[in-house]
Each structure stands twice: as structure tokens, then as C-alpha cells.
């Protein structure tokens, strides 16, 4: 028996003590300040990801050696309230022009700050690529380990900024 599986979208929310336009600005122009350096495609170290500030723009990574690697496209550019990125990365973190999944991010004023809601959807389209990912995820050098390193590092940096 074959059953079609449609994973629910990944939904995440956070609240920031900053105005809507600043939150949008840090998410887009300032993406290099929060995107995990370990999440890159090219062989060289990651300088920063870049989101071109218009609909239809490129979303790519710029490496320290000047190489540019595509990550996807900008499907909606509506500052300061909404952004839709086309995420064209496979579960192995490689670019696939045929893979279209959407990441929608909305910025909503709330009290003295901004609520940020993120939804990554169309995940079933990754199905054919997902099998190999299981190995990547479960290995000792897999993403969970890298993410822990990243969390520790960003906490350190934040403390440094505040000092």
C-alpha cells in the first residue's frame, strides 16, 4: 500500500523588542549577522548570504573567496511587513533549480516590538532528496552538532556586543 505523505509546514515565531522596519531590515540586509556560518554550499568559507531587495531578486551566498552560490529567489518583497523566499536547497544543502519550496516571513507590530512569523512550506517536494539526508542528520558531524556550536557562538557574540 502506498500512502502520500504531506509534511505540515514548519512554523516558527519569535518576538523582538524592535520596530517592524528594523526587524525586517535585520532579517534581510542584516542576514549575515544571524545566519549560521556552517550552512553554506560553496567550498570556501561563507562571508554572508545576500537577499536582493526586490521581487524576483536573487538570494545567494557570498563566500570569502568571492564565489556566489544560488540559494533561491525572492518571491515577495513587501517591506516592512512581509517577505517570501524561494528555498531551493535540498536536504543535503545543495542548490536544485527544480526544487521550489517557500519560506514566508511576516513582521507584525505588537506592543513595543514586532512579532515575526516564519513558515517553510511545500516540504513534500523535497521527498526524493530526503532519503540521503537521513545519513547526514544522524551522523556524528551532522547538523544538530553544528547547530549547537552555532548557538554557543552566537550567544558569545551577543554578550560581546552588549559589553
Amino acid at each position: 500500500m502506498s500512502t502520500q505523505i504531506r509534511p505540515a509546514p514548519v512554523r516558527k515565531s519569535t518576538f523582538v523588542n524592535a520596530p517592524q522596519d528594523r526587524a525586517f531590515d535585520v532579517f534581510t540586509a542584516g542576514i549575515g549577522r544571524w545566519w549560521p556560518k556552517s550552512h553554506k554550499i560553496g567550498p570556501a568559507d561563507l562571508d554572508r548570504p545576500i537577499i536582493e531587495p526586490h521581487e524576483g531578486g536573487r538570494w545567494y551566498e557570498l563566500d570569502v573567496d568571492g564565489t556566489e552560490c544560488e540559494l533561491g529567489k525572492v518571491a515577495a518583497w513587501e517591506p516592512p511587513s512581509r517577505l517570501v523566499l524561494i528555498w531551493q536547497l535540498t536536504p543535503e544543502f545543495t542548490y536544485d533549480a527544480n526544487l521550489i519550496t517557500e519560506v514566508e516571513v511576516t513582521f507584525t507590530p505588537e506592543g513595543d516590538g514586532t512579532r515575526v512569523d516564519l513558515e517553510h512550506r511545500d516540504l513534500e517536494r523535497m521527498g526524493d532528496k530526503a532519503e540521503t539526508m537521513r545519513e547526514t542528520v544522524s551522523g556524528p558531524g551532522g547538523w544538530p552538532a553544528l547547530l549547537e556550536l552555532f548557538a554557543a557562538e552566537s550567544a558569545k557574540q551577543t554578550k560581546g556586543d552588549m559589553a
Partner: protein
Amino acid sequence: MLEKLRDGPRPVGEIARGLPVTRPAVSQHLKVLKDAGLVTDHSEGTRRIYCIDPKGLGAMRAWLDQFWESALDAFALAVEAEHSKKKEGK
């Protein structure tokens, strides 16, 4: 639990066997997985049969869930670090 379902559809009792948790706990966990769209179920007589996709979408979704969780946390820290710096500057 997803490991157990990897090889094919299973009834609850068989999934629970060998796991160090009660059967109601297993059912509860399966409900969570079902709500997340990671397993499906159907009836065969009195039994409820659970299936997982053979393509590993569950692992992929779990990875993205963790990725965006960490990324948004880092984003929030970056926003607030910048915002407090700006305020001090004024």
C-alpha cells in the same frame, strides 16, 4: 518510533513492543506525528495501522524545524543587539 515505521506499516501494539514506554504514551506520540503530517493511519478491522513515508521526509522536516528554531533565535538576538546599540547612541 519513526525508526520502527521505516520498514513498513505497523499496528500500534507492534510499534509499542520493545519500547520503554506505555502503549497510551505510544498512541499519544503517534498522534503528535500524525498532526505534523509525518505518519498516516487507517483501520484494518479493529486495528489501527500506522505508516511513515519511505522517503525520509520526517527526518528532513525535523531538521528544518531545528534549523529555523536556531536561526530565528539568532535573528532575534541580532535585532535586539542592534536596537539597543542604536538607542544608546541617541
